[in-house]
Structures are given as C-alpha cells and as structure tokens.
Amino acid sequence: MTHRHESAALPTTLEDLPVVALVGRPNVGKSTFLARASGSFVETANAPGTTVTLERRRVVVDGQAAWLVDLPGTRSLGDRPAGDDPFWTLLAEVRPDAILVLVDAGDLARHLPLVLACRDLGMPVVVAANLRDEAERRGIDVDAGRLSQLLLAPVHLTNGRVGDGVRPAVADAVRLAAQCRAVRVGEHAPRATRPAAIYPLQVELELQAAARELIGLRSVGAAAVDPTGIGRLVSEGIVSPRGGATLAIDGALDTARRAIAERWSHQVERLRSVPTPLADRIAALATAPWPGLPIFAVVALAVFGTLVVVGGAMSSALSTAWSTSISPVLTTAVDAAVPVPALAKALLWAFDGGLLAMISVGIPYILTFYVVLAALEDSGYLTSAAVLLDRVFNALGLPGRAAVPLLTAAGCNVPAIYGTRILGTRRARVLGSFLVTLTPCSARTAVVVAALAPFAGPLVALAAFGVALGITLAAGFAANALIPGAQPALVLELSQLRRPIARHVLAKAWYRFRGFLVTATPIMLIGSFVLGLVWESGAWSPLATVLTPVTTGWLGLPPIVGIAIVFAFLRKELALQLLVALAVIEYGAIGSNLGAILTPAQLFVFAIVTSVSIPCAATLAALVQELGARAAAGISAASLGLALVAGGVIARLLGAA
C-alpha cells in the first residue's frame, strides 16, 4: 500500500550519482533496510508486495554520494511484480551501477538463485544476508566469508530491523557502484568483470550462442529483430552481452541456479539444534481451520474493540476540547474578518465544522486504525489471514490479500483505494475498489449507529450492518460474474510471525495518516464550504422538490432526507447532523428528535442508503486518481444504483413506502 504522493515526489531530473539498486525477494525486508540505510522511513509491511512504486534515496557513505533505489520484491528477474513488464526491465530503467541483493540468511537455498541471476548480468553485486537474527533463532548460522568466496562478491550479515551490518553493506555497494560509474564515464580503463563459469557445460554453450546473437543484434541495431528489448540493453551497455544472454535464456538457467544455490547453502550454513520458536508454532496453527478461524475472529474483534474504545474516547475528548477552546475563537475571528454574514457562516462551516470533523473522526478513528493495521502487518499475521480467507475472496474475484484493503476500508475508504494496488491485476483492483466503496467507513458506521441505536435499538443497528454486508457480498458476486476475466490462482509465501517493533508501527501509521490528511483535508474544507453556501443561501429547498419522486415516491422518506443523503456525498459523517438541522427547519423544535419525525423503518432505509450510496468526494477523488474517470464513474453509478434499489426494496419490505 503505497501512496501516490511519494512517487510524485521523486525528482524528475536526478543528480548524476552512482546508482545502487536494492533487489530481493518479497518480504525479505528491503524497505526496512532502506529506511535504516538512509535514515528515513519507507512504508513496509510484513507481507509480500509492499513496495509498489520505486523509492529512491540519496545516501552518502565515506564522502561518496549515491542513489539507493528500492525495487519491488521479485522472485526472479523474469517475474512480473509490477504487472506486465518483467522485473529486469524495471531494473534496466534504474540503470544501476551496482546491485545490492538482500537475501534471507535463514533460507539461502531459496534466495541465492536471484543473487546468481543478478551476478550474471555483469555488474557488481553485494549481498546482504538479512534477517540474521531470525535465522539464528532457528539455529542457522551463515558463514559469510565462505559465501563471499563462492559468490566472488562481498557478503554482509545484516539485521535491517535494528540496523546491524546495514551501513557496511551499503558502503560496499556504493564503493563498487562508484568504481563502475567511473569506468562508464571513462575516468578509468574499463575492467572486465568475468564471472566464473559455474553452470554445466551445456548451459554455458547455450549462453555463448545467445550472447553471440545479441552482439549480432547490436551491429544490426534494429528494433524489429529485438522484440524482447534485451539487445537494446546490451547495445546501451547496461548489461554485458553475457548478461543479456542470461536474461534471454532465463528459464533454462533456473534449474541450474537452484541446484547451485542448494549446494552452496549447504556449504555455508551451520545448523544448531534449537527448540522451535514459539512464533513458528503459532504460525503453523494460524492457517488451519482449527484454531485458525477462532484466532482470526479474536484478532478481528480486538481490532474493532480497540477502534470503538480508544477511538471513541479520543473522539469525545478532542471534540469537547475543540468546541470549548477553539470553536469560539474561530467564530469571533471569522465574524470580525468577513462582513457578509452568509459568507462568514459558510466559512465557519469549512473551518469550524470541517476541521472539527477531521479532528474528531480523522485522528481518533483513522490514526488509531492505522496503528492497529501497521502492528498487524508488522507481525506478519496478515498473510495467514489472507490464506485462511482466500476462498472467500476468490468467490468475489479477489486474492486473499484483499483482506488488507477491505479491513483498511472500515477505517477510511481513501487509503483503502490506494491499498488495492497490492491486488495485482487491474480487474482485481476495480473489483476490490468497488467493494471498498461499499464497505462502511468509520464515518458511515457512526451515522448508521447514531441514526438507529437511539431510536430503534442497538440490535437494529447491528442488523443494518448485516444487511449492508449482505448487499456488499451480493454486489461483489455479481460484479465478479459480470466483469470478464478470472482471478488467477496465485502461490503465496507465508510470512513468519514477528514481534512488531513500536517504532516501525508508529512511523508507518503516521506516514499513511499524513497521506490521508493531504488528500482529505482540502476536500473536507471545500466540501464543507460548498455545503455551507448551499445551506446558508437556502438553495437546498428547490433541490428537495426535484428529488421528491425518488425520496418520497421510491424510498418512502420525507423530502428533506433526500437532501441529507445527497449532501452526504461531500461529507458522509454530516448526513445525520444535516438531517436533524433540516428537520428542525421543516418541523420546528420537534425535529431535533428524529424518532418523532421518522419511523424506525424509515430510519433503517436512510441508514442503508447512506451507507451504500456513492462514495464520498474524497473517495471519488482517490478512485479517479487510481483507476481513471471511467472506472470511477462506473463504480459510483453502481453503488448509487445499488443503494437506491436496496433502499426501495427494504422500504417496501418494512412497509415504509
């Protein structure tokens, strides 16, 4: 889940410095490693596929500056972690002078093939055997010196989570990159990097043939005869001819590399007998139906319990503080500064009401939720949950890891839309985003609870969530059936469970919250201002008349309720306050008691329609940004249609219309 802001923040014209590419399998800790190496935070999760955009950091080691570029986790150079292009095209775009490969010190046999593939490209490679603490806990000690001899490359044992060995590893990579860059710009005589022939003779011969072919392409120089683009990399000097050849016959090398990796890992590992770590024992249980499902239920309840208790307490404390100390000052100031009373009131809608909403919903509920989510991610439990629920999400056309954005959506839909990036295919992203918009966020949850619990009882409020969940599932099934294509069956590596590190959790939560603030605050302010203008000018009254056929005719609700629903587009959590205010205008003082003007059935219809209907303005903005205007319009239309149909049907079932 990476926000767009950071990729936009990448400098477009880069300082001409040596480039070190950070490469590794998913979940080996690259982002944490980068944070340690550069001293600032990158969003990470103990789940595969956190790094979706490229993160570039400037590092200075021993007076030498260099770019350190974090690439998405990849299982091989031919893997497609970012969608359509194989990983090596991403790597080539970065134009690295050296590659820093992160491997899991506790599972070298699986990780070394990627090191061999990088080394085959003909550029300097430095290996960081990361997660050494976990390896040691499992009784695995790695002989870095021996591995370095075998690989003909520097090997460092590192623990990115606390920073052990990170600086020396980066220093080595930067030094080699600087040397390589100097060769490229002609400061020094070129030095041939000729890796030892480690593959079986047959494979080596194949490699030589492929390399000759690529050199031939270079002399022809035509794109038509170079469909893979490997020839271009060779002619531009990004990879050596032999390196290009290893890309061209990547599949044939795979088996050979795995055999070498297996052999070498045996040579460098020293195993001790240790008891199975507790975390591993829990991890083994977490994916089985028993006790996996009860564990999941407990975790889910703990998440929402924390939200309700901690979020609720913070929310009331903050809104009290705001209305006693800040609100009066703001009112006085705006009234004094703006001579037009209607405009002053509209401005107060924005700065008093709008900011209060950000403070009383954003900080208590969304920030708390992000902290809880970050802790879950850091612990590695989310991949277990994804496996447990994989089939449920498959039925909706989504992979199991859709659990992450959908859980996020219960806090706020905006970050959840960005979070659908981890779903891989565009189809899954569209389906996932649709379900995200149908998931009641904290603001909508508050509206449903406040509209139903006091007037119809808490059980009815619970029933409304049940109905909303049913609508969401039905819509998900239908959308999956209607949109052509299918969810591919994916093999997923399960994370190991770890104790979350408070620093990481808080930093990540804050990083995401900042992203949310940047997106949502302007929309909240402008939305509230527009709302204020329409309200203070009385322009809502004609609108209510226009909407009457739908509001009263189809949904069986008084006309003013239609206004509340329409304006909830700007700010969902205002739906109820608006409704009360409108009711007071329409019916007088009795209107402040919603139970007196609306029947429980009508309130139920109102709650469902508000909960399901078109996403709020901030969510719509995120949808457009991430999926394009067409998909955003389609999703909004679908949820509006769904809300109206569901509302009308429920109104008839309950006898409200």
Binding site: D79, R110, L494
Partner: protein, 114 residues
C-alpha cells in the same frame, strides 16, 4: 518437531504417485512432475521436480494447501496443487537441507521449522 520423532513416516500411501492435492497432511513426499502451466510460478517459489514437500494443513472453505518446501511455507491453491504429482517418501520429514553432503559441518543437526 524434529524429523526423528515422527511416526507418520510409516504410513503406507494408498496412491504411490498421486497429485499433491490428495496427499494427506504431514506425509513427506517428493515432487515427481509438475504440469507446465504451473511450473514457472512454482519454480519461482523454489518448488520444482525433486523438491521435498510436506502438506501442513488445508485452509478452510476449499482454500489453498499450506505446504512446507525447504524452509518456506507456501500457500498453494488447490487448482495448482492438482497439477503437481508427488510420491510419498519413507525418508524422514524433509527438514531443511536434510540431503546435505558429507562436506557439510559434521556437528550439523537437522531442525525442522513447523
């Protein structure tokens, strides 16, 4: 959970060479063939012909098989597991790198993660 303490290894498989999908939990097996369609993806996860695997459990609702392969735990959808042929082995539980060569450290013992 060390390999030597396992009693399941005497289980005599009914199907000597069947799909991984049908492999009972905790029965060590060796991969004998993989259908081409799934081969690349599984190879990327380090699972190829000759790999030793143990099915740890099956996720509910017809979800994926959780399989230990080397030191990793992989979630393999049933659809994919149906295309992987395995042969149960009577060798001990394939703890990581059991097939280490004589050149490896003599004091090395095998320790299986769960």
């Amino acid at each position: 959970m060390t390999g030597s303490s396992r009693s399941e290894r005497v289980v005599s498989p009914r199907r000597p060479n069947g799909a991984m999908l049908a492999l009972p939990a905790r029965v060590p097996a060796r991969v004998t063939a993989i259908e081409a369609e799934q081969a690349t993806e599984l190879a990327d996860e380090g699972l190829g012909v000759g790999s030793r695997v143990v099915v740890l459990n099956r996720a509910p609702f017809g979800g994926p098989l959780v399989v230990r392969c080397g030191r990793a735990r992989l979630a393999i959808p049933r659809r994919v597991a149906a295309g992987v042929s395995v042969e149960p082995t009577v060798e001990p539980d394939p703890a990581p790198n059991l097939d280490r060569t004589a050149s490896s450290a003599p004091e090395a013992t095998t320790e299986a993660p769960p």
